[in-house]
Symmetry: C2
Subunit: 340 residues, 2 copies
Amino acid sequence: MSEYGEFGLIKHLTEKIELKNSSSQKGVGDDSAVLDYKDKKVLVTTDLLLEGVHFDLTYVPLKHLGYKSAIVNFSDIYAMNGQPKQITVSLGISKRFSVEMLEELYSGIELACQIYGVDIVGGDTTSSLTGLTISITCLGEGEKDKIVFRNGAKENDLICVTGDLGSAYMGLQLLEREKSVFQGQQENIQPDFTGKEYILQRQLKPEAQKNLIETLKEKNILPTAMMDISDGLSSELMHICTQSNVGCRIYEDKIPINLQAVEMAEELSMNIVTSALNGGEDYELLFTVPMDKYEQIIPLENVAIIGHITKPELGLNLVGRQGEEISLKAQGWNSLNEEK
Amino acid sequence: MSEYGEFGLIKHLTEKIELKNSSSQKGVGDDSAVLDYKDKKVLVTTDLLLEGVHFDLTYVPLKHLGYKSAIVNFSDIYAMNGQPKQITVSLGISKRFSVEMLEELYSGIELACQIYGVDIVGGDTTSSLTGLTISITCLGEGEKDKIVFRNGAKENDLICVTGDLGSAYMGLQLLEREKSVFQGQQENIQPDFTGKEYILQRQLKPEAQKNLIETLKEKNILPTAMMDISDGLSSELMHICTQSNVGCRIYEDKIPINLQAVEMAEELSMNIVTSALNGGEDYELLFTVPMDKYEQIIPLENVAIIGHITKPELGLNLVGRQGEEISLKAQGWNSLNEEK
C-alpha cells in the first residue's frame, strides 16, 4: 500500500472511470461531485457494510463483494421506481489489504455499474484499524408522480414479488456449513458445489430488479407501494402494512421458491418457507397493485401474486397449505438483533 | 440496545426530524430519500470516519464528534461554492454503545444541521464488531455557472484563505499530550485548559465557512478555484496547482495564525508554520481570485491574501521571513501514510 498515499490510491482506483450519464457532470477529483437532474427528482440511499457483520471474506471473493455492495444500493433506488445513476464509494482498509485486492473489489463495483448504467462519481479511501468497511451512497432519478413509496397500499390490492425467495439465505447456509467443515479439516479440499450454483449465486452475486421497473413502465403499471426484499418478506410486508395502515394475507403455496433452495433446506433440515419469509438478502421487489391490474400482472415473467392487502384490523397473515391462518411476525435478518 | 432493533433504533434517532428545505421532499423511512433540485445542480460528497483512525473517544465528546462529522461534509459543499441541503447518516455501532450515547452523537449532528440549515434525509444503523463507524453523505445545491472547481486558478490570481491555520492541529497535540499524561497517573486529575479554549474548539468543534460563501455572493466575487483545507495548506495548494496546471508563491508572514496556536507550539517545541502548512483539519477555505479583485478582497473580515499563482514551471514555493524561497511539499494529514 505504501506506494500510494490516500490521494494516490483513490486516484489509481478511479482514474479509468468514464462518466456515462448526462446527469453526471463532474465525478471524482474535487470536493464534491456535480450532478444535474433538471426536472427529475433525485433519489438518494446509502449502505454501510462491515467485515464480519455483513460479509465474511473467508468465502466471499472480493470482486463479488464489490458487485453486491453496488447492487444492494441500486436495489433501493429501483424500489422507489427510479433509475440508479451515480454512486460514491468510501472504503476503510486495514493493512492486510494489498492494492491488488482493492482493485479486485473495485472491479466488481465497476462491473455492476457498467451493467446497470451507473457512474462512480466520488469516494475516498482511508485506513482502518480493523477490517474492511464499505460505504456506498447511490443517487438515482425518479419521474415526478411516478415515485413509489411504502405507504400507498390499499385494501384489496394484489401483493406481488419478483423472482424467488429464500435462495440467498440457503446459499449463505451452504457457505457457512462448508466454512465450518473446511476449518475442521487438515487438508485443503475444495468443496463440491455442483447442483448448488443458483443458491450460491443468489448469495454471492445478487442482481437488482431493473427489468421489473422497465416492464412496469412499458405496461404503464404504477404500483401503489413497493420496497426491496433485503431483510426478508415478513419484515418488508410489516413495513408496507404499517406505513400504509393496512393488513395483508399471503398464501404459502404462492411464495416462489427455487428447487435448489428446497433441496438445500431439506439437506440442512431447515424449513424453506420460514427461510423464504425471514431469510433476507433476496433483493427481489415486493409491490402492490390495484386488483384491476390482475390481467396485466399475470402474464409477466418472473412476477408472482402471493396475496392481497386487507383491512388493518385483520393484521398480517400467512395462509398455510392446509388453509390454516398463521400470524406473520417479522424476524428478518437484522444485524442489531444478533447482539441481543 | 436490545430494546430497539435496527429499525427501532434508527426510527428512535430520527423520529423528531423535521425537513426544512424545499428540496427535501421525503426523508428517512423509505428505500431512499426523494429530493427535488429543480434547475439547481446537485452536489454530493461523502466522508467515512473510523474510531481510532479519525477520532479518539477518550477525549472527544460524542456530541462534538457528531457535530464535526456533519461539518466536515458541509465544508466540502461550501468548497464548491454551494449550499449543503441534505445528509444521510450511517452508523456502525459496537456493543459498548448505549442508546444514550447514540442520542448524544445524533444530537451533535442535529445541532450542526440546525445551524447550517441542512436536513437529515436518510441513514441506518448496523452493528459493528469493533469501534464506531460514521459514514455521512452530504448533498447540496449549486447554481449553474457558479460552481467553483479546483482547476480554474490562473497565473497572477491572488491566493486567499479564511480564518487561521494550524489551530486545530495544535488542539489535537494538546489533547494527545493530556491523554498521555492522564494515562500515566493514578489519580483522576482534570487537565487545565485555561487559555487554550480556542485551539481546543478548533479541533473538537470546527465550523464550516458558510459566511464566506454568502459574502462572495453578496460582493459578486466568483473564485477561479476553491477547496477546503482538511489535509493541510500545502497539500491543498498542491491539488489546486496540479489540477489548474499552475505554480504558486505564498508568504510565510501572510499565513494567518492564532496566538493560542503560537503559544501551544512554543510549549511543545514545535514549528507553528510547519503545523499551519501541514496540520490539517482547519476546515477553512482556500481560494483564488483574479488580481483585479484585490480591492474587494482586502476589506473582507476573516480573509487573508497569502500569495499568488505563478507559471507552472516555477513550482510551489513558500517565501520565508528572510526572503528565502522554500519548495513546498505536501505532507498533509494523511491517514494512509501512517501505515508506511
